[in-house]
């Protein structure tokens, strides 16, 4: 009996240790384990998608790579955890991942009551509908009585409900746990329309058997600012992830690319660029990072324009126009605070 009590006590001790959430600085954790654990999607081309060899690419993947380049000077020091929409916040809250970069919409509720902090927006999106061309639908307002497929656990689910309620249209919701199965249900004819963020629609359409048979309806029914998310209360880590994004936008504005960054660093007389690339000042120390962290981000991951073109730009299968995601100087809304 004594040994039983002993066993119970030691088990309880382990349980107690486990229930103590790791509230220490994420930067220290990341440095000590040597990589960033990054939560991504289970496969959204252009945002986060693994190829047949397990190499991840995408705009969200690059957000994590930028953070790794900033912390370690090596953009490859990232490990990826594919998460479904409904798993993602719990994974971040529990400390399983360090950054959540999973085309996640910044909303009031998520920011205020989920114990999360949104960093910067790396893609401005909006929700839309995709339908078969032979359905003869011109507008989302024609969808009275339609069956709608979508993925579970997203803002999409709520926006869809709000849209149909607002316009007093009836509909049949088919809410599937994973995006791929929701798309399969749409492809099999279970639904008339598939709804998610418009960038996602383009990405998903590229996965269908005959992408040309499907059209994206003109309406955008919501605002979906997407960006990386970190745990609430770790301001240093939040700043690192935020500024890894901001320096990419600033670099594009200054005309610095991954190709010319070395040349510019050695030749520049511009104090702003010299500060950004760590030639002058102590910009790195303020965040607990090496002096040349921004240089590493730009050299290894590229500026925002490069990231966009490489992953979702017109030359990729996803083929999205730059549109609203262009720099503020080019008619878009991408605007980063100055590095000063």
């Amino acid at each position: 009996m004594k040994s039983n009590v002993g066993k119970l006590l030691s088990t309880a001790a382990i349980a107690a240790t486990l229930s103590t959430a790791a509230n220490a600085a994420t930067l220290d954790d990341v440095k000590s384990k040597g990589f960033i654990q990054c939560g991504v999607s289970q496969g959204v081309p252009g945002f986060s998608n693994a190829d047949s060899e397990g190499n991840w690419t995408g705009i969200d993947v690059d957000a994590c790579r930028a953070a790794a380049a900033a912390v370690f000077g090596d953009a490859q020091k990232v490990k990826f955890t594919p998460l479904s929409a409904k798993e993602r916040f719990t994974a971040l809250q529990s400390g399983e991942i360090d950054v959540l970069a999973r085309n996640t919409t910044w909303t009031y509720t998520r920011d205020s009551s989920l114990g999360l902090d949104f960093t910067a927006v790396n893609f401005y999106d909006g929700q839309g509908f995709m339908a078969r061309k032979d359905l003869g639908v011109e507008s989302a307002l024609d969808l009275d009585g339609a069956t709608v497929c979508t993925e579970q656990g997203t803002t999409t689910e709520l926006n869809m409900a709000d849209f149909f309620r607002k316009h007093k249209l009836s509909y049949v919701p088919v809410v599937v746990q994973k995006a791929d199965e929701a798309l399969a249900a749409y492809a099999s004819g279970r639904c008339d329309v598939f709804t998610t963020d418009k960038s996602g629609l383009a990405a998903h359409r590229s996965k269908l058997a005959n992408p040309a048979d499907h059209m994206i309806l003109p309406e955008t029914i919501s605002k979906e600012p997407l960006g990386p998310v970190v745990r609430h209360g770790d301001n240093q880590w939040k700043d690192i992830v935020t500024w890894a994004m901001f320096v990419q936008v600033n670099a594009e504005e200054m005309g610095i690319t991954s190709d010319n960054v070395s040349k510019i660093k050695s030749e520049t007389n511009d104090p702003g660029i010299a500060r950004l690339l760590g030639k002058e000042g102590d910009m790195g120390a303020q965040l607990g990072l090496p002096a040349d962290w921004a240089y590493n981000v730009i050299a290894q991951v590229g500026n925002y324009g490069e990231v966009f073109e490489r992953n979702v730009g017109p030359s990729t299968p996803v083929g999205l126009p730059r549109g609203i995601n262009n720099l503020w100087t080019e008619g878009g809304v991408m605007y980063a605070p100055p590095v000063r």
Binding site: A161, Q177, G189
Partner: protein
Amino acid sequence: MSDKTIPSNKSPLNDAGTRALIFQIVLLAVVVFVGYYLFSNLQANLADQGISTGFGFLNQPAGFPVLIHLIDYTEADTYGRAFIVALINTVVISLMGIVLATVIGVVMGLARLSNNWLVARLATVYVETLRNIPLLLQMFFWYFAVLATLPHPRNSIIFADFFLNKRGIYSPNPIFQEGFGVVIAGFILSIIASIALIVWAKKRQTRTGVWFPAYWASLGVIAVITFLALAVSGFPIEFDLPQKSRFNVTGGMVLPPEFVAVLVALSTYTGAFIAEIVRAGILSVNWGQTEAARSLGLKDSLTQRLIVLPQALRVIIPPLTSQFLNLAKNSSLGAAIAYPELVAVVMGTTLNQTGQAIENIGLCMLVYGTLSLTISIFMNWYNKKMSLMER
């Protein structure tokens, strides 16, 4: 615990009973303390990270739709009501699955023992195939592969007022008018009459040995009385007929493919296990029992029903309970193919919208725990009832 109390030493510490009690108290104190520590630690950490807590969210509007709801539900209803909707969906699919799986299991178990070579082999193929393929895969098969072969709503298969297409099976929906109470009263009356008839027939058979087809007769009684009640009250039922509309078939009653796929997958999968349990149960009954029954002149069907099955049941019921529990818990896989049961609605959408993982997962654990315990209690009662009466 083997230390014996030495009579000369009367210290209560040396008394096995007292010592056991002390250990129990210490253990309880440790458990309570650790539980309290974990709970307060959890609360502190949640507050630290700014995650909201409590069950207040259940009164907030949910804002999301649910495909299948047996009670009224709209997006404007609360998370609490969405929880009830999901709970009903889980209970309904579990109970229907249990009934269907039992029927399939008994039929297939008997078929495996059949003297007919073909029947026995077919049953073997069924059992070996279905119980060796993961259930989730089977659900995907029923949902995606079978669904894909059905026609688009525009080309629905139409039979009278029934429609069949990718979106489900549509049938007329009966709407009960005033005066339907008479029909319900007649139906209840006919059931009471049938029970009385069966009891009488049994008593008479025990007394005189004369057999009366009480079950068939009672079916007739129910049909005739119910029909008479319908006629007397002037058929107070109207039907809401399904009709083709622009995108879908609307109106009527619809059985969505998600429901059908989950039910078929659950019941055929569990049915394969039950078939093996039934077969084992029947084989456990000594062959001498069958021979004895035959020598008394009982027909084969009566031998099975009156001699073999009642004895086999004692072996069958305990593992059958496990299968029922498995089925109830496996119903949670329905979330993968859009069947809105508890895991989908509560641990999926509600958890994601509110971010309150601990409350929502706690609710789900409570429901599955209660559901499983209820099934267990019922099956244990049934097991006791069927167990061998020592006389």
